[in-house]
């Protein structure tokens, strides 16, 4: 074990003799007045010239950790322990000291560049505020790969695309040549192809600048792709850390393994229905268990796990560390078991409708649909003469980059938008339903779950007792307890909201269920659960699924077939597996290349 630790340390060194710590936290603990214990004595080091991927689900404390290093933790947070940015300890320091340390040593990039950039200020001037002069700003924009920087500096943030805006943010972050850059979900709001570009840029900047980067993300695959070292966070603790290749191939903590299974299930690499993804939800941060925080969800838990917080110690199967007292015994059982039948990825399509012999009726058929948008005398052809057919009980993934027209087509299919020309024909059955990207926002906030579900049943001519029965059954179908019917959306967790939204869309089984990126904003474990749920709905209700996504890997996990969209047209259509392995069009090839390498590595 000692030997392997040494080997890893060597590999982790960014350059000979340069194993210098740029930032570190020691025993960092954070509590809020409302009882939330967000960070629990965390130790972490950030070394010069490395990208450290900090992975965790929402609420795990990863963002607060980053903010604490920047000295920007909210004043309500009661911090103890230490957080050193270069040589400055940021927890106890005065505001002025923290500001100076931040200016000298740190850069930061956040998720949404639109809210981080001043909309009333030209990009050049904004970058120049950090860089010193507009000329330097122009040079920086070039360095971060923004084409025509001389033109771009004269534009306002809204005139830049999402990817370019994030690059401008990165330019500002590196302007003063910081030794530490904190990146908090910098690619989460971008589609996969833009994400790929940003990740490559970060790696290039790491090599050029030698800065240490803390890359905070909820997406395991992204961390695996970009990071030199990863740390997995759970309920305010580091659960496991080490080399990403080792950690993700030989996880030693059941939580890491659960996350990994979720991600692989999400990518259709393990058959979702059979592999236990992460059950339950993270613990309430106001009432954390005294022992291992993962114990309530852990399949390997034993009484000893509830006794005390497990320390982070050397891992048995890789050169990093893990915080599981049983890791020696169980590590062998944690390796993900890939579905032997990955060649299909999808559990064999067993749609009742198609089994019934004869040619299945189409759940949806679109014929020569076109749709144009007009804005300020500009015409934008969002959907250009698209024809499409989806068999009853089938599942089709509609894949493309942002702005390719896939969401517009989806909205036309369900009738939320009218096409300028063409014909939409829907199969027999309930009216088409839709699962929205932001499930929480798709539930009317002032109505209870019961009212929301009941409303959908109004046209069915059922007695109130029959309706109640139906609501109970549907809640059970999506894995919710009946008591939840009395709650309003804001009282529910993110996962529960997503389930309620799904319950509403299938309480009267529709012929077609349209899904608009329902997983892209979710933590992986939740996303995998959603995919599982879609499979279940399809299997048990025979619902046809039209699934819009920018992630080809996710599309494969859901759909038998994918259609690639670009510029309002469908450029390629075929079985998911075939398109993923052997894309014919350039657009499909670009999307395939954007699938995170971790999955491609698993796949080969």
């Amino acid at each position: 074990m000692a030997k392997s630790t040494q080997a890893t340390r060597k590999r982790d060194q960014p350059e000979p003799g340069g194993d210098r710590v740029s930032a570190r936290v020691r025993g960092l603990d954070a509590r809020f007045a409302n009882g939330v214990h967000a960070l629990r004595r965390v130790d972490l080091e950030l070394r010069r010239g490395e990208i450290l991927g900090l992975v965790g689900e929402s609420g795990s404390g990863k963002t607060l950790l980053g903010l604490s290093l920047l000295g920007l933790a909210p004043p309500e947070a009661e911090l103890t322990g230490g957080a050193w940015l270069a040589d400055t300890e940021m927890v106890a320091a005065s505001q002025e000291t923290r500001r100076i340390a931040r200016r000298e040593h740190a850069g930061a990039v956040f998720q949404d560049p639109m809210t981080s950039l001043n909309p009333t200020m030209k990009v050049g001037r904004q970058v120049a505020e950090a860089a010193g002069s507009v000329d330097e700003a122009e040079e920086l924009l070039g360095q971060v790969g923004i084409p025509d920087p001389d033109r771009r500096i004269k534009q306002y943030p809204h005139e830049l695309s999402g990817g370019l805006r994030q690059r401008a943010m990165i330019a500002m972050a590196i302007a003063r040549n910081p030794s530490v850059i904190i990146l908090d979900e910098p690619t989460t709001a971008l589609d996969v192809t833009l994400q790929r570009g940003i990740l490559a840029l970060l790696q290039q900047l790491r090599d050029e600048l030698g800065a240490a980067m803390l890359f905070i993300t909820h997406d395991l695959a992204v961390a695996a792709e970009v990071a030199d070292r990863v740390a997995v966070m759970y309920a305010g603790r580091i659960a496991e850390s080490g080399d990403p290749g080792e950690v993700f191939h030989h996880p030693c903590h059941p939580y890491t393994s659960g996350l990994l299974n979720s991600r692989l299930a999400l990518a259709g690499l393990v058959s979702a229905g059979e592999v236990a993804t992460l059950p339950g939800e993270p613990p309430d941060p106001r009432a954390l268990p005294p022992g291992c925080p993962f114990e309530p969800r852990c399949a390997f838990a034993e009484p000893a796990c509830t006794q005390e917080l497990p320390p982070l110690v050397s891992a048995p199967r890789h050169g990093g560390a893990d915080a599981c007292i049983r890791s020696e015994e169980i590590a062998d059982q944690l390796v993900p078991r890939l579905d032997p039948a990955t060649s299909t990825g999808v559990p064999a399509a067993a749609s009742p409708a198609s089994k019934g012999g004869g040619a299945p009726a189409a759940a949806l058929s679109l014929e020569r649909i076109s749709k144009e948008f007009h804005a300020r005398r500009q015409h934008h052809l969002a959907v250009d003469d698209v024809s499409l057919e989806l068999a009853a009980g089938g599942a089709l993934g509609l894949v493309g980059e942002s702005g390719c027209g896939k969401t517009t087509l989806l909205r036309i299919a369900v009738g939320l938008e009218d096409a300028d020309s063409g014909e939409v024909r829907l199969g027999a059955g309930g009216a088409p339903q839709m699962v929205f990207q932001d499930a929480g926002a798709s539930l009317t906030p002032w109505l209870s779950v019961y009212q929301l579900l009941d409303e959908r049943l109004r046209g069915e001519g059922l007695e109130s007792s029959a309706r109640e029965q139906r609501i109970r059954e549907t809640l059970a179908l999506v894995g919710l307890r009946p008591e939840i019917a009395n709650a309003r959306p804001h009282e529910l967790s993110g996962g529960q909201r997503q389930r309620v939204a799904m319950a509403r869309s299938v309480i009267v089984p529709p012929a077609l269920l349209a899904c608009d990126e329902p997983t892209s904003a979710l933590d992986v474990s939740l996303a995998a659960t959603v995919i599982n749920l879609l499979h279940r709905l399809r299997r048990e209700l025979g619902v046809a699924i039209l699934f819009v996504t920018h992630d080809l890997a996710v599309a494969r996990a859901v759909a038998d077939d994918v259609a690639i969209m670009d510029g309002g047209r469908i450029v390629e259509r075929g079985p998911s597996e075939q398109v993923l392995r052997n894309p014919r069009s350039d657009e499909a090839r670009r999307l395939v290349e954007a699938v995170p390498t971790m999955e491609r590595a698993w796949h080969s």
Partner: protein
């Protein structure tokens, strides 16, 4: 289906009926005082006939008396009891303001909802009409109506309402647009909800907080406007007790018998101030819920 069951197995954070929507502890002292004052004023206005010691329209004693035990605020130039007239005046002014705001808000809500939900040309037409209404100066319209129909309280109220609703229509239309672009509106449409029910269940509760806040803040302003109009003689005809008219009539005695003008003026001041504070309080109560 191991992945589905555990979530259902007992660790659901269901908060049934948790968190009352109205949390009084969020209010500051001034807001609470404003709301209490509004409640008191309403009670007093309703009970004016019971409380008032004298007939407000009749000469009940010698003119221009100083405040005393039988005439709490003295008498005016024709010997009417200023205190009783003030109570009745409060009644008139307060309920006039409520009526104008109520009718204006209802009409504005209707127009704003239709414009916001329908969009397209309906929106354009309704909003141009609204803009035209906003462009009309309230007092000038009131004077025109008074000239055309003769000065009366009802005519003044109608004139003010005509220029008052467009403001609400504008505000509500904007709020409606904000609700309509939320996914829950599309989701409700897909769930087969339409027409009146869609507006009632999925839009109106979302715009109500803004409407209530606007209306309550507006009351103070409206009381001043109505008092100003009746000060100009555009309200209820002379003998009727009305705060602005009373202030106007008492103006000539301002230096010799100041209570005649000051009593109604102070009530207007308190009403407007209390309505503003209560509006702030309501806003604090309704926000973020």
């Amino acid at each position: 289906m191991a992945f589905l069951e555990p979530v259902a197995a007992g660790q659901e954070p269901i908060a049934l009926g948790a968190r009352r929507r109205l949390d009084l502890s969020r209010l500051g002292f001034a807001e609470k005082a404003g709301m209490v004052a509004i409640a008191l004023i309403t009670v007093v206005a309703l009970a004016a006939p019971l409380i008032a010691p004298h007939n407000p329209g009749a000469t009940v004693g010698a003119n221009l008396q100083s405040p005393s035990g039988s005439f709490l605020l003295g008498t005016d130039d024709v010997g009417r009891d200023v205190f009783s007239r003030m109570l009745y005046g409060t009644r008139t002014s307060w309920f006039s303001a409520l009526a104008v705001v109520g009718v204006g808000a209802m009409f504005g809500l209707l127009v704003g909802l239709v414009a916001g939900i329908r969009g397209g040309w309906v929106d354009t037409v309704l909003m141009r009409i609204t803009d035209a209404g906003l462009a009309l100066p309230g007092p000038v319209i009131a004077i025109a109506v008074a000239v055309a129909l003769g000065p009366s309280l009802l005519n003044t109220l109608i004139a003010v309402t005509v220029v008052w609703w467009p403001w609400y229509a504008r505000v509500i239309r904007g709020e409606t647009r904000a609700v309509v672009v939320r996914p829950h509106f599309d989701a409700a449409r897909l769930a087969g909800v339409g027409g009146f029910r869609l507006a009632l269940r999925h839009v109106i509760p979302g715009v109500m907080p803004v409407l209530i806040v606007c209306a309550s803040v507006d009351l103070g302003f409206l009381i001043l406007t109505l008092a100003g109009l009746s000060f100009l003689g555009l309200g209820a005809p002379a003998p009727a007790p009305e705060l602005g008219a009373m202030a106007s009539q008492g103006l000539e005695f301002l230096f010799s018998f100041p209570w005649i003008a000051l009593a109604p003026a102070v009530v207007v001041f308190i009403l407007a101030g209390a309505a503003n504070l209560a509006g702030d309080g309501l806003r604090d109560l309704l926000e973020d819920t």
